[in-house]
Symmetry: C2
Subunit: 176 residues, 2 copies
Amino acid sequence: MKELPLAKVYALIEPGPVVLLSTARKGRSNVMTMSWHMMVEFEPPLIACVVSNANYSFAALQATRECVIAIPSRDIAEKVVAVGNCSGSDTDKFQAFGLTPLPAEAVGAPLIAECFANLECKFADTRLLSKYNLVILEVVKAWIDPKQKAPKTIHHHGYGTFVVDGETIKLKSRMR
Amino acid sequence: MKELPLAKVYALIEPGPVVLLSTARKGRSNVMTMSWHMMVEFEPPLIACVVSNANYSFAALQATRECVIAIPSRDIAEKVVAVGNCSGSDTDKFQAFGLTPLPAEAVGAPLIAECFANLECKFADTRLLSKYNLVILEVVKAWIDPKQKAPKTIHHHGYGTFVVDGETIKLKSRMR
C-alpha cells in the first residue's frame, strides 16, 4: 500500500462505490458492506455515512469512534456481498471470506489488503448520529494499492443488483 | 412522467450518480450539477446532500427550503457538465442548454423533462447546514420517465472525468 495524498480522497468516494467498513474492538476485527456515504469536504477530507444500528459494527464504531473505509474492485464483488449477508456477531468475516487485515497507522481498525484503497477515519461530528445513524468522519490517512491498475468499482441498485464501472469519458469541466 | 413509489427512490440515489438540482425563486428557475449526496433513510426517503454556498443555487435553496433532484442519463452528459461550468447568476441555464422545466406537484422547483427520474424534495433537517452546507431532504414525490429504458448514469471521478454505468451483475444478497 502506498500513501495517497488526502486531497485526492474525494475522487474515490464521490462516484458512489460500494465500500467495506472495518472496525476493531477488544482485539476483534469486523467488516461490513456499505453504500450510504458521500463526501462533505475536500480537505481535510470529510465523509458522511449511515451505519444502521442493526449492524453488529455499529457498537464497535460508536465505542472506538474510528474505522477504515476500504474500496473493493469488481474482482472481489462476491466477497463483498458475502460480507453483507452475515453478521459479525457469529462470524469472523476476515477468516470466513479470506480477507486479509493489515495494521493501519492512525486507527485501531484494520486496512483490508484485497481492497485497492483504504481510508483511515476518525469521528468528526456525531450530531446526527442518534437520529439518523449518520456520522461525519475525517479521513486522517489514505492508502492506495499501486498494483491494482484502473480498478472497476461496483454500485448497488438494490437487492443484489450491482452495476460495474464501464466506459470512462472526459468532458471539459471547471468542476473539481 | 409516471409516479414512482417512494420506497423505490433509494435504488436511484444509492449508486452515486451525478444529478441535477433545480430550484425556483421569485419566478426564476435555476439548475446546478451535484455529486455529493447519499441516502439516509428508505421510507420516507431521506437524502443528505452538500450544496456549496459558493453556488448561486444555495440562496434559493435556503430561502425556499425545497428543490428537485433530477437524474440525467449519459445521453445528456455534455449538458450536465455545461450546467456545472456556469452560474445561474448570469445565465438562464434551462434556456442556454435546452433543458425543459416541467411543473412539479408538491414543490415550486421544476422537474427536468430530459432526466429519467425527478425527485421532489423538502428540507427535513438543517442542523449541519451552517457548518458543512449539508442538508437532509425528504423526498415527497418521485417521478420516472418510462420511455427511457435502462438509462445509464454517470459518476464523477474529478476534473471532468466520468465513468458511465457498465455491465449489470446480480449476486445473491440479503441486503435491500
